[in-house]
Symmetry: C2
DNA sequence: CTCCAGTTCAAACGACCGTTTGAACTATGC
DNA sequence: GCATAGTTCAAACGGTCGTTTGAACTGGAG
């Protein structure tokens, strides 16, 4: 098997998503990233242009497979008629947690990065994340509204942001210090628990 | 009516919870806080000792009435026998959102501050928040487990962290950019929606 | 070999960070 | 009046921040 040497650009992206995921955007310096990536400080501005552009590139790269999988599942569901709420919730949540399942340690890093950036303190950065996943999100919102005709559009939107938020919180692993909280030691079980939790809330917890 | 002049210490705490709530801990400088509070930079170290000590004092002050109200409600519920899950959820969620209801603009600032700090990127700061609300939280966890005997302790703990996380997200107002998402324009309705959502999830969405 | 685009490098830029200093001001008790 | 404790102040501390510069290195094309 070949060992494709990581380029400086790739090493920067890898370390960036790890460090940004641990300390947040403001809490992580370019120097910390470049040292860990064995790269020169100036490499960031050479390859990306700025700290924020590095973050943008890292978000785009991390989100791409998740969004692609969501799109694929949504296409498939819509091709088969009107999907149940559970199928839609599953199609949204599972791609976000399969990262951890399918790519082990590395996937957990990516998941934490995504979860953290999605609710970064800075509105600017949250919007950067939102822009990356906006098209597919509006498709989900529409599908959910169709699958829950008895609930008002506002109620479905409320459920949707709750789903989004809970997924991000579990991805970011900020909930784990609580004892026995179905942590990422078994991401498959976590996904099942979260889907069950959300399905119940969508089916019985949305005001008409 | 007297106009009790705000002390420098109070102005610092007020501005700190506003700015920390907007930009996060790392993203907010002491200079930005002291300028807005019309205070000298050195006043922070004189009154509190350090930036982190200022944050700690602000968290303590902001959480005190919320924790007190939660304690009061829990005492009352436990005095009246075994409370329903809904009553427990209500007793946990409502004090966190009544801030906005009862104290208007200022309360919204406090709520956003609390919600933001609870899931700050830095583990150190999240633990600072957790330490502030730990005793009352373990009481809630125990009461919830008693109210949901058919669910395993792990499942109840899972529901609890989800409740905690969703409340913090709505407090932080990071979910609001989504259109019509029951934003804080009517916090009473938000509280009702969130309670309904959580009750359904607790009653039907916890794996035994 | 020469050339050249692509990449890396050490070094420095000005700006801002949290913190500290020591003097100046304020108000109360004697 | 004077002393005193509490508070505020301008100024500076050393350090780190993101960004920029211009030279040095790299490897293939002509």
């Amino acid at each position: 098997m070949e060992t494709p040497v990581e380029t400086t650009r790739e090493r920067l992206l890898n370390v960036a998503e790890q460090r940004f995921g641990e300390g947040g955007y403001e809490g992580t310096s370019l120097r910390a990233i470049t040292v860990a990536a064995a790269a020169n400080i100036a490499a960031v501005n050479y390859h990306f242009g700025s700290k924020e552009a590095l973050l943008r590139a890292a978000v785009a790269r991390a989100m791409a497979p998740v969004n692609a999988e969501r799109r694929r599942r949504l296409d498939q569901l819509e091709a088969g008629g009107s999907p149940e709420p559970e199928a839609l919730i599953r199609a949204f949540v599972e791609p976000g947690l399969e990262l951890v399942l399918r790519r082990g340690e590395r996937g957990a890093v990516v998941a934490r990065f995504i979860g953290r950036i999605a609710f970064d303190p800075s509105r600017r950065i949250r919007e950067l994340y939102a822009a990356e996943s906006e098209p597919i999100e509006s498709r989900y919102l529409a599908a959910l509204q169709q699958a829950l005709p008895q609930a008002s559009p506002d109620a479905v939107a409320f459920g949707y942001v709750n789903m989004l938020g809970l997924l991000a919180l579990h991805q970011s692993q900020a909930l784990s210090p609580t004892p026995g909280a179905a942590g990422p030691e078994d991401p498959g079980k976590l996904a099942e628990n979260l889907v069950t939790f959300l399905v119940a809330a969508f089916d019985h917890g949305l005001r008409s």
